[in-house]
Amino acid sequence: MAGLVQDWKAHKRPFAAIAGAPLFWLLLFFLVPMAIVWLYSFGENAGPADIAISGTLDNYKRATEWLYLSIFLKSLAVAALVTLICLIIGFPVAMAITFATPKWRPWLLLGIMLPFWTNLLVRTYALMVLMGTNGYANMGLGALWDGTSWLRVAVGMQPLEAWTPVQLLYNNFAVVLGLVYVHLPFMVLPLYAALDRLDKSLIEASLDLGAGHLRTLMKIVVPLAGPGILAGVMITLIPALGAYLTPDLMGGTESQMIANVIERQFKRANDWPFGAALSFLLIYAMFILIALQSMRRDKGREAH
């Protein structure tokens, strides 16, 4: 890493040749579209296909009505719950990969990454097939139910009534489960990256000095891997907050999240300015989360 950074003024031609295309692309096909959305969020519908940018704040005012605010808060709660479940499931898995033998580690990692690379829609659909009223989840529950019923008869009690398949899909439970299923690899991979960098002799020292596994985990592993854990949390929380597909396909009418509301403004409701305002509120929420994360990280750095 011979850190020889050149000044652009001394090398104007190579700089132009290298930087021109990506900067142009970023400006034209990212910043300009985002700027148009931002402007639209201050506009109103002037005709069937005409939007006047009048500088009104009505769209934002409407977004703070309880109906939309509650959906926003609910999305945040669902995303937080999904992140927490992913952390609880993912942490031991990341630990196991970190301490696996060199022969096993790549394969375990691959096992986590293959679903990560598989099409999101296909994965959601696979889960839906499993959870449908004719699916295996229902068959498994049915078998459990029949087993309980048989046990009750065996001990001389009334049998339970016959099993009727339950609706596992199209409710909040399905949305949370679907989001956990989809985002679990997002959590495990950064956790593994953080744990892998850990100095393992510190854990050994802690265990040698008489601390239990749990105490070692809380006092040594978690503080040292803190930034990595935080990164994993953010990488899961942000896409979960903006999730569209899972609540759309697996949720019911009352388990819609903010992305579904935004989509509706652009398709069925045809209220583009309001949709633009909601989009930007979602983006601002992301920015706040990221700012909080970097503040925590800087604080952590000062403490060391």
Binding site: A100, I238, A259
Partner: protein
């Protein structure tokens, strides 16, 4: 035969603890069971999914005869291919730019470059919908030009990923090699082609695979930029799942899962498991 290994468990051998193994096993089961069941039952000779009624390929035949499904698949692969090529060039240039030069507002450019990764897909999709409507992008172009709007959208969210991967590869480049080449009379372009490019190669391969997968995977952004004539595979599967679940979807999904496995195998062959793990 690790199961019957009787050496005592060392303190750090968490992987050899029964509950840890059970936990990992259960997680893998959770991740793979739905996919495996989907794949197995795509060969099932029954409309209902649960009971096995014998092996058949008829849903694959049906999927292949479904012209709109095949067309969607061809569209998806075309878009992914084009988006990969453009993202690779743009991403590599962006990586070299950020790695090599000092220029005003560098921090801002770097931050903006990471925005397409952070901004929720739905917002990016909405932005492209409005943008292409606003500039009145023609929608009646002949194939494959009618895919241009979707391809442009895909390049925008793919190339920052490529830039990120390539840049982390560039960090390990030894600048002295470049200087040696120049001392020996190589031109700027020759140095780039013969010294820097070979060093970037693993990063470029990883970036290309990442871009291809991201593009092939994308539903939300495509959903907002596609028109009635420009259906991609995920958009097609979405409408099939939404409006009528047919076993053809199982067959089509299985083909896509297998494609993913093949791509991963190619990546493995080219780079080894460890290198792939590190790029994520």
């Amino acid at each position: 035969m690790a199961l019957f290994n009787r050496t005592p468990v060392a303190p750090l051998e968490y992987t050899r603890k029964a509950w840890m193994r059970g936990w990992v096993g259960a997680t893998m089961f959770f991740l793979y069971a739905p996919l495996l069941i989907l794949m197995v039952f795509s060969f099932n000779d029954s409309k209902r999914n649960v009971v096995w009624r014998g092996f058949t390929l008829k849903y694959y035949e049906k999927a292949m005869e479904n012209d709109s499904l095949v067309e969607a698949m061809v569209n998806s692969l075309t878009i992914a291919g084009l988006a990969t090529v453009f993202s690779l060039v743009l991403g590599a240039l962006a990586a070299v730019m950020l790695w090599r030069f000092r220029f005003p507002l560098k921090g801002a450019v770097e931050g903006t470059m990471s925005l397409p990764i952070i901004v929720p897909e739905i917002c990016l999709g909405v932005a492209f919908l409005i943008f292409f409507a606003k500039i009145e992008w023609p929608t009646d172009l002949p194939w494959p030009l009618n895919l241009s709007a979707i391809t442009i959208a895909h390049i925008t969210f793919c190339f920052p990923f490529v830039a990120m991967v390539v840049r982390s590869r560039l960090e390990s480049f030894n600048r002295e090699e470049e200087e040696a080449a120049k001392d020996l009379g190589a031109s700027e372009w020759q140095t780039f082609r013969d010294i820097l490019l070979p060093h970037m190669k693993p990063g470029l391969i990883a970036g290309a695979l990442l871009a291809f997968t991201l593009s092939l995977d994308d539903f939300v952004i495509t959903f907002f930029t596609s028109g009635p004539d420009t259906i991609t595979f995920p958009v097609k599967v979405y409408s099939m799942v939404r409006f009528s679940v047919t076993p053809e979807v199982n067959a089509a999904s299985t083909i896509l899962i297998i494609l993913t496995i093949v791509l991963t195998a190619v990546a493995l062959k080219l780079q080894g498991v460890k290198a792939i793990a590190e790029t994520h």
